[in-house]
């Protein structure tokens, strides 16, 4: 697993309080990992902070799963 994926997984585990093995490629933050709409806002902020990037609101809406997040950050970096 890439360094980016590891760091994203760590953030998701910390913020959503879920087991690490639940954070898989297609895991949806809301449907599978118990996040609500505010949690997802905070997750995106944490990604911005961790990777020093800016994720515009319209792009943030497309980040629904763990895989989406890793892909977006890899593309942005």
């Amino acid at each position: 697993m890439s360094d980016v994926a590891d760091r994203v997984k760590k953030i998701v585990v910390e913020h959503l309080g879920v087991e690490e093995d639940k954070v898989v490629e297609n895991a949806s933050f809301i449907d599978d990992l118990g996040a609500d709409s505010l949690d997802t806002v905070e997750l995106v902020m944490a990604f911005e902070e961790e990777f020093g990037i800016e994720i515009p609101d319209d792009a943030a809406e497309t980040i629904q799963t763990f895989g989406d997040a890793v892909k977006f950050i890899n593309d942005a970096a």
């Binding site: 309080g17 505010l38 806002v41 905070e42 902020m45 911005e48 902070e49």
Partner: protein, 418 residues
């Protein structure tokens, strides 16, 4: 008229987390004061307060994990955490965690705070100044709003009745209990979870009250001696934090389910000073009128009062309240006992009225009055017994708790043995 009784109690105080743990230390005359540990105090005048002691739950410490997991705690200010904890203790003490829809619809929550999420506001503002507004958490607002204790508690237990929150500075806790009792009397609910919570021991909180010249400043070398109501050497209040929550219940409802009944909410009075933003009116008329209104509501004569839990903050205003009580009681002042438990807990601001209501209720339960500690050299002579330094074993059938707040907002609540 529907009668309202108290069937559950919950406390998080600087003395201990838990009702019995706090009460035992209060009767023993212990102080919860010490040097502030929550922030670097090098820039503020007052470096001591009465803080909640965190730990694993043993020896009266407050175990954060027992009430809220780490993930949820990040989303709420400490005043909400303390409010949730005291509410959890109270509903379990009352054995009131119903699951049927009718009971849930008839149970409401009214837990207030004087200031709310001041620590969160301070920290978020500092962070925003450094990193910009895009870093402000979506949980900042719902984690700092005063009514979010009532919101959180209702979500936890499914209580769908009236959901409300009082904000009347240092009278908050007393107003919440009085107002919640009225909602039950009026028929809006059968059960109300009511009280107050506060957690304002942070740099801006201490600096703000220092600027008002309200806090004790001279006892950095001996914080436990700093809160000394009625003593000639008092020099301001000592800030406390924590929460007090009671379960109030319509009398027949409580009897029908065999609930343990601590006391009846016999009377409630409110008044405004219309005088000054921080100082009480010098003749104590506001406090006199709130106490008089509570007596009238209870249908009691002044001589019926056995115990008064004073507002008594360890400021110049102590003697104003004292004079108002003497005026109210007249000759009966010689047979009543009045103490200020703030000498031990510090001043919990919006939670003060709630924890002190609970102390008044426990005084009725155990027929004992907690002391006023550090009262070595009384500032004035009074016919009232102020229970200096030692608890009083005495008959307590009726207890009155006073709370007065900035803005000139006064509340008095009377509890009676059932």
């Amino acid at each position: 008229m529907r009668r309202v009784v108290v069937t559950g109690l919950g406390l998080v105080t600087p003395l201990a987390s838990g009702v019995e743990e706090t009460w035992e230390r209060l009767l023993a005359g212990q102080s919860g004061a010490g040097k502030i540990t929550q922030f670097d105090t090098s820039r503020v005048v007052t470096d001591y307060a009465c803080e909640v002691k965190h730990g694993d739950g043993s020896d009266g410490t407050f175990n954060d994990d027992a009430y809220c997991d780490a993930k949820e705690r990040r989303k709420i200010d400490d005043f909400i955490l303390y409010g949730i904890a005291a509410a959890d203790q109270a509903v379990k003490d009352a054995n009131w965690t119903p699951e049927d829809e009718e009971s849930l619809l008839r149970t409401g929550v009214m837990i207030g705070s004087g200031i709310g999420g001041l620590k969160s506001i301070e920290q978020t503002t500092l962070m925003m100044a450094e990193k910009g507004p895009r870093r402000v958490s979506p949980f900042f607002i719902p984690g700092a709003l005063i009514n979010l204790i009532s919101g959180q508690v209702s979500i936890r237990y499914g209580f769908k009745g009236p959901n409300h929150a009082v904000v009347t500075a240092c009278s908050t806790g007393a107003h919440a209990i009085g107002d919640a009792a009225r909602l039950i009397k009026y028929g809006d609910a059968d059960v109300m979870v009511a009280g107050g919570a506060e957690a304002a021991i942070c740099e801006i909180g201490i600096a703000g009250f220092n600027a008002c010249k309200a806090l004790s400043t001279k006892r950095s070398d001996d914080p436990k001696a700093a809160s000394r109501p009625y003593d000639a050497d008092r020099d301001g209040f000592v800030m406390g934090e924590g929460a007090g929550v009671v379960v109030l219940e319509e009398y027949e409802h409580a009897k029908a389910r065999g609930a343990k009944i601590y006391a009846e909410v016999a009377g409630y009075g409110l008044s405004g000073d219309a005088y000054h933003i921080t100082a009480p009116s010098e003749d104590g008329d506001g406090g006199f009128r709130s106490m008089s209104a509570a007596l009238k509501d209870a249908g009691l004569e002044p001589g019926a009062i056995d115990y008064i839990n004073a507002h008594g903050t360890s400021t110049m205003a102590d003697v104003i309240e004292l004079a108002a009580v003497e005026r109210l009681l007249g000759n009966a002042a010689a047979t009543a006992t009045m103490s200020s438990t703030k000498s031990m807990t510090g001043h919990l601001l919006g939670a003060a009225g709630a924890i002190e209501a609970i102390f008044s209720i426990l005084a009725i339960r155990d027929q004992v009055v907690p002391p006023t500690i550090n009262l070595d050299n009384p500032a004035v002579e009074t016919p009232l017994d102020l229970a200096p330094n030692v608890k009083r074993e005495r008959e307590v059938n009726v207890a009155l708790s006073n709370s007065f707040g900035f803005g000139g907002t006064n509340a008095s609540v009377i509890f009676r043995k059932v």
